[in-house]
Amino acid sequence: MSEKILTKRLENPGYGGTIEEYLATGGYQAIAKALKEHAPASLIELVRRSGLRGRGGAGFPTGVKWGFVPKDPGLTKYLVCNADESEPGTFKDRDLIMRDPHQLLEGILLASYAIGCQTAYIYIRGEFIAGAAILERAIKDAAAHSFLGKDILGSGFSVEIYPHRGAGAYICGEETALLESLEGKRGLPRLKPPFPATAGLYRLPTVVNNVETLCNLPHIVLRGPEWFSSIGTPKSTGTRIFSVSGHVRRPGNYELPIDVPMRELIFEHAGGMRDGRRLKAVIPGGSSVPVLTEQHLDTRMDFESLAKAGSMAGSGGVIVMDESTCMVRTGEVVARFYHHESCGQCTQCREGTAWLHKTLRRIEEGRGRKADLDLLLDICDNMKGKTICPLSDAAAMPIESYLKYFGDEFERHIVEHACPFASTDGS
């Protein structure tokens, strides 16, 4: 049984996430230690040495990102916590916010100290109504204990944290769209460069970090970067919370070393397949990543191994599909999502997501044409690598993977003018 780090407190079912309980279990000791023993630059170096990579989806090394922020103390800087969790199949940040909010707040304090900012925002998706209320409450309590506000613990370091609710837009999980939304505009992504570290919120230096990424910080500070990097692989360090859903017996969040084998995650921790059925497909990192199959079950879940297998670690959202699943229908549902969520700025994405959705719906409804499979690949090819943000790639690459591994199913739909699975899948 591997050690839980982020979810250790949650192993106690009675843990209520209050500041009293958080303090009683070692909470807010990391920020006290950091303020006493580290200058911001040494804290950045410590996090860099830990090898911590972003847990939102991109997996960018956190310490390196922090290092891009200009050191000029006269500049106003911002830390933004990305709590917009919207990648289909992902539900780990919700648990962290709902059940242990002070862990996140302490992480935000550490990140803010490291980059030298005085204001931090938590951009939380609008639908997390209870989560926003819990954060507001936790911030009040932390302030009452002087862990927030002016001159924290007599260190001279001051920071305010404000939650900011989104209003229903997947694209606002993309960091530059998030910043546009925080500025009170539509969530239209910006061209990068410049990157937020130099020109972010209000075009000032900004670091955007995912909830889970930030939650790791107190532990890294207290136990050291060598301890953290002893878990996982040299390039993918630490644990990860995998959200497992779909046709498994025990869907849920599982914190495990990041290099756990997929087979172990699905069959040991998540209880294996429901109803004695056979595994057909696995999406290993949220709907934006290419699908994998039974042949990939021995792949480990770290960034490098999944990339080598032709997919990506992404958000850690693992969606498991059994033999009753129609992969054309899966493609249609996924395409419908990206079509809905495309912000519309880029022609390839705006038109491509609509076209993919329309075409896949036609095929699923039995009105597919022979030329459709080449058409789908052609559309995908035109959508990749040519847009302001990666939503277009996120829509195209999965469809390519469904065609690669399940092309015969698509052909059957077209030849038979019907979905061969119509009576067996959930819909």
Binding site: F91, R94, A130, E183
Partner: protein
């Protein structure tokens, strides 16, 4: 929405435009939707053109520019929920409420919406009503679910589903 509340929100941001989303949420909470008057007031208050306010109001899924139900029933139809029968769940809600997804019941009590991933896939299929998440919701559960919602609406004067209570 008191002036004090507005000031408290404005004070969180160095630029007033950032207060647009929180203020839109408040306006919608009060009237059940974003009235034209509210949008005009906001544009004046924040020094924005009406276009700048409306383009934001129409961009985000949670905002409505037309009246709807007192409460919203959101049914996720994204992948994990679909795999576990969400389409059937949507159809049962449509039957139990007598409306299509996207529509509001005659008595003005409920609007039914298909929504994208609610980040609760561990309890798929997921339904959200106000701040509450429900799941796994099976098609057989739906009729009783709707009855309970109706009973709740009958006894309490439910405010908008959209904001947490002031005392958190």
């Amino acid at each position: 929405m008191t002036e004090e509340t507005v000031q408290q929100i404005l004070s969180r941001y160095p630029h007033h435009r950032s207060a647009l989303l929180p203020l839109l949420h408040l306006c919608q909470q009060e009237a059940g939707y974003l009235t034209e008057e509210a949008l005009r007031l906001l544009s004046k208050r924040l020094g924005l053109s009406p276009t700048q306010v409306v383009e934001v109001a129409t961009f985000y899924d949670m905002f409505h520019l037309k009246p709807g139900g007192q409460r919203e029933i959101w049914v996720c139809h994204n992948l994990s929920c679909s795999l576990l029968g969400a389409e059937k769940v949507v159809r049962r809600f449509e039957e139990a409420l007598g409306i299509g997804a996207g529509e509001t019941t005659q008595d003005g009590l409920f609007r039914l919406k298909r929504v994208e991933c609610l980040a609760a896939c561990g309890i798929a299929p997921v339904v959200q009503v106000g701040a509450e998440y429900y799941g796994p919701v099976s098609p057989q559960d739906v009729a009783q679910f709707v009855e309970r919602l109706r009973a709740q609406s009958a006894v309490s004067n439910q405010g908008s589903a959209f904001l947490p209570k002031a005392d958190g």
